[in-house]
């Protein structure tokens, strides 16, 4: 994978220096998904498969336009279809492109114990490095969006890379390129945020969609994928988009206080042993006892 212009700023399970830790922060890249102009054609699903070299998956019709229930290790981009009854009784189809959200504060990375299996680049992309992945699945527990998926054949985790290979070469992600309605946009986080807010304002003021707004959850430090929703107060209606996602407390505790408690405990242990040595001297082994060893 080309990483020509990608500088790593965060590494999972890593002690020691991070290559990009000291560099000036690069501009954050961002996908904007305007759910109000998505027609559910799934061209982005196909573009994602083709760019990433995945082939046919046998799917089953399940009383829905949705291709499969959830994203899969080899299916990273899925439009979630939800029939939604409005207050006036009319029905609309809410469609949301589901994929990795590329959190600024990625729970997967925090949860990952394998050195270098998950990295975050200076442009904000969170990427899995399968060569370093140990397949433990801890990233699943760290993700509030249910994104990392396990390939049982290779015992590795997979998810959307935000086309880090394309982005590093100055191209937009494959899904963005394929969108026929222009509901998908790609650019810097600041630009996308502006565009999204402008669109939401337009929906509120010109179309009377009063609850239109932008989904960019602060609980995970904001995301590298943001949505314009008709009803930002009810993101759950869009195929279970969490209202206020956070990195689970277990992961936070495990990687935060627990880690320091562990470190302290370990340090304490070493200290205790050293003090013991100075106080009582080396432990002596009686050779005859050892030789007999209780074994007749």
């Amino acid at each position: 994978m080309s990483q020509a212009t990608l500088q790593i700023v965060k590494i999972s399970g890593h002690a020691g220096p991070v290559p990009g830790a000291g560099v000036e922060r690069a501009e954050q890249v961002c996908k904007l998904v305007d759910t109000t102009t998505c027609i559910g054609c799934k061209a982005c699903e196909v573009a994602c498969l083709e760019w990433n070299g995945y082939t046919f998956t046998e799917t089953v019709f399940d009383n829905s336009y949705q291709t499969m229930p959830e994203t899969a290790w080899n299916y990273w981009n899925l439009i979630k279809f939800n029939e939604h009854e409005r207050e006036d009784g009319s029905v609309t189809l809410l469609m949301r492109k589901d994929q990795c959200m590329h959190c600024a504060d990625p729970g997967c990375l925090a949860a990952c114990p394998a050195d270098g299996a998950i990295v975050q680049y200076s442009n904000g992309i969170v990427d899995f490095q399968q060569a370093n992945c140990i397949g433990c699945g801890y990233c699943v527990s760290g993700c509030p969006f249910n994104i990392p998926k396990f390939n049982s054949a290779t015992k590795k985790m997979f998810k959307c890379t935000l086309c880090s290979d394309r982005v590093s070469e100055g191209l937009e992600p494959a899904c963005i390129k394929s969108c026929p309605t222009g509901c998908l946009h790609f650019g810097t986080k600041d630009d996308m945020k502006d565009l999204a807010e402008t669109r939401a304002k337009q929906l509120r003021e010109n179309y009377g969609i009063e609850k239109a707004g932008v989904y960019d959850p602060p609980g995970v430090g904001g995301t590298g994928v943001i949505y314009v929703l008709h009803d930002v107060t009810n993101p759950e209606a869009y195929g279970g988009l969490p209202k206020d996602p956070h990195i689970p407390w277990v992961v936070k505790f495990w990687k935060g206080p627990a880690k320091w408690i562990g470190n302290l405990a370990m340090l304490g242990g070493i200290l205790g042993v050293t003090l013991h040595y100075f106080r009582y001297g080396p432990k002596e082994v009686h050779s005859d006892t050892h030789e007999n060893g209780g074994q007749p």
Binding site: T57, F61, V91
Partner: protein
């Protein structure tokens, strides 16, 4: 104009539609009165307080056309847009959204039986010579008229003669009426459903089907399958084996019956869209050239090469063996670089060229013999020009292929993009754009000027190419609708313009669960004819068929084609029937249950998609259910071959009923029964 005369169009219009009250709309359509009024208020609000700056558009697709009264629906839209002043204006108009990338091109090029390229009417047996033909098809300006008419169709003889020259070249001379006698004279309806009907009846003996899966397209697929069983031969040019080329394997055909089918089927491997160059015309009338992306695989050949070879072989046989009337075949111009012409060469032929040195009397500009003409204004009716399609004249000039242009500049900022591709006619982006100005020639919206009258130059100029007589001073009071003999838009359609009446009227589909609320004794379009073979059965609610069914396409699939592409198949793997929750509950149907849909013709089996999105309708106080099914699956494709669906075609259900003007089948409303399979 006072608009007060009781027989004037305005008063007749008011009288006709005074019957269409919001209450009546609710009775007929089930759309609640307040909802209808909300929509009507919104659309007409563009002219609120006399504002003439705003524009509203109407966009439609086959949901409006696939009815036995489809043309009347489009006419209604046109009348509404004319009344609101939304025609000839950027962002206005009545816009057809096509289901295929080149449907507009097919129609422009005469891909229908009743028109030649450029919408020239096809000759009939009554046209005994060229003069009679031209007299019949060339309109004369209506006089007296409140507006003067440019009546641009008065140039028809130039376009028709140039077309004949493009077909028969040197064999078309003034003395022999430019070979008019070589043109086929169309004596009856040869539209899509009629061809199949004729084959079913045994008078059509064979078919060449290129890129067209006739069995799946329907209507009444089983009738089409049975028709092919009676044919002598079938040639299919395709990139996949399809339902048509394997019609004898249709479900329900027994091995014994298969042995009795004597149709010879020739399956020719053709090129896919990415393997061909050529142009496609979109519904904004832009001709856009594309290049070859990948070479044809294996033994596949380009469609045009195959068609050329068939023609050359037929011509050889005529040369050798003669025939009843070999002249049209032997005289057809075929002076291409290769025996199989390239599409670029054909595009140049369609644009037209000078066959003698031509001089413009006004500007003294000269076009040399053999040069491409710059546009249709140069075409002549004396045999000195050749042009395959007058409306496309200008697409490939001496300056090169205009249709391959890729200029992205938009100087006016109105989205005109005059240097992107090429738009017929004459690179005009908005038709009838004279109507974007007031009678004095000033744009209705000074901030978004399309064209205007330039007093000092004494010419119409603009950001777009004026669609008008360029030097007609506004004081001359020429009507903006230069293609009508009246010079004005046709709110009232004159006699002969349509098979139906002058104003659209509401009719129920041929198969409807209700009677027409206006005139129950004439519920359906009176000029629609039902077909009469044993396969043509039509249902009534009295027979137990009381659910309305409609068919449609999905964004995930392209007709009957992408069911061979794994990428599309995984998106929508199986056929389904969308059923309202309320109906599903009544019938005890749950989502994913297998259901059987039966019409008077045949049946269809698929999984149930129980949805809240299709609601029951209250039509004239009666609860009416509607179900819908996508058309994409059949009996040849990835999932079908794997035995994962019932291998039935949606169009087995649909009736052979057509709109009397466009001959479009009524796919959007017919009657069925629904049950658990």
């Amino acid at each position: 104009m006072t608009l007060q005369h009781p027989r004037c169009v305005y008063q007749l219009l008011k009288q006709q539609y005074s019957r269409y009250t919001p209450e009546m709309v609710e009775r007929i359509t089930g759309i609640q009165k307040d909802q209808f009024l909300k929509a009507a208020d919104l659309f007409t609000s563009v002219r609120k307080d006399g504002d003439l700056k705003k524009v509203a558009t109407i966009m439609y697709a086959v949901g409006w056309t696939q009815h036995s009264f489809g043309t009347q629906i489009i006419r209604t839209a046109a009348i509404l847009q004319l009344l609101l002043g939304n025609v000839g204006r950027a962002g206005g108009g009545v816009n057809a959204l096509r289901g295929h990338s080149n449907i507009q091109g097919a129609t422009d090029m005469g891909g229908v039986f009743d028109s030649l390229p450029g919408y020239l009417k096809v000759p009939s047996p009554a046209d005994t010579d060229l003069a009679a033909y031209l007299k019949r098809i060339t309109p004369t300006a209506s006089k007296p008229a409140p507006w003067d008419s440019f009546n641009y169709w008065s140039n028809t003889p130039k376009f028709a003669v140039s077309y004949l020259k493009s077909q028969f070249g040197d064999a078309a001379t003034k003395e022999n009426d430019f070979a008019f006698d070589y043109m086929p004279k169309v004596d009856r309806n040869y539209s899509w459903t009629q061809i199949w009907d004729n084959m079913y009846r045994g008078s059509v003996k064979g078919m060449l089907a290129f890129g067209m899966n006739g069995v799946a397209i329907g209507p009444d697929s089983q009738k089409n399958i049975d028709a092919l069983k009676k044919a002598d031969f079938l040639v299919v040019g395709e990139i996949y084996p399809d339902e048509t080329s394997e019609f004898w394997k249709a479900p329900g055909t027994t091995p014994e019956e298969m042995k009795t089918i004597n149709t010879t089927v020739y399956r020719l491997a053709c090129a896919g869209f990415a393997e061909k160059d050529g142009s496609m015309t979109n519904s904004a009338r832009w001709l856009q050239w594309k290049n070859v992306a990948v070479p044809t695989p294996g033994e596949c050949r380009l469609d045009q090469d195959i068609v050329s070879d068939i023609f050359l072989k037929v011509r050889e046989l005529y040369k050798k063996e003669g025939g009843k009337f070999p002249d049209p075949i032997l005289s057809l111009t075929w002076s291409y670089t290769n025996p199989q012409p390239s599409l670029a060469e054909l595009a140049k032929e369609i644009n037209g060229k000078a066959l003698a040195d031509l001089t413009d009397p006004k500007t003294q500009q000269v076009i040399k013999r053999g040069q491409q003409v710059p546009g249709f204004a140069w075409l002549k009716d004396d045999g000195t020009t050749s042009c395959g399609n007058w409306i496309y004249s200008g697409c490939w000039t001496e300056a090169g292929p205009q249709l391959a242009r890729r200029g992205t500049e938009d100087p006016s900022g109105q989205g005109i993009y005059p240097n992107w591709a090429w738009s017929w006619p004459a690179n005009r982006r908005v038709l009838y754009n004279r109507a974007s100005c007031d009678p004095s020639g000033k744009p209705w919206d000074a901030e978004r000027k399309q064209v205007w009258w330039n007093e000092s130059a004494q010419l119409w100029v603009g950001n777009d190419v004026p669609d008008f007589k360029p030097d007609s001073h506004p004081k001359e009071h020429m009507g903006p609708f230069i293609m009508t003999p009246e010079g004005v838009g046709r709110v009232f359609a004159p006699l002969g313009a349509f098979a139906d009446g002058p104003f659209p009227e509401h009719y129920e589909p041929i198969e409807s669960p209700v009677q027409n609320a206006f005139h129950p004794n004439q519920s359906n379009n009176p000029v629609v004819k039902k077909l009469s073979t044993p396969a043509d059965k039509y249902a009534t609610p009295g027979d137990g068929f009381n659910i309305v069914c409609t068919t449609y396409r999905l964004t995930e699939h392209y007709h009957y084609w992408t069911k061979n592409n794994p990428m599309n198949v995984q998106l929508i793997p199986e056929p389904f029937v969308e059923i309202p929750v309320e109906l599903a509950q009544e019938l005890g149907i749950k989502g994913n249950d297998k259901v059987k849909v039966t019409s008077a013709r045949s049946y269809y089996v698929a999984k149930a998609f129980v949805t809240k999105r299709i609601k029951p309708m209250m039509i004239d106080g009666k609860k009416v259910y509607q179900i819908g099914l996508p058309i994409h699956q059949g009996y040849r494709g990835i999932q079908e071959d794997a035995g994962r669906d019932a291998r039935t075609i949606a169009n087995r259900l649909t009736p052979t009923v057509i709109d009397p003007n466009a001959y479009t089948p009524e796919f959007k409303g017919f009657l069925v029964k629904l049950e658990k399979a």
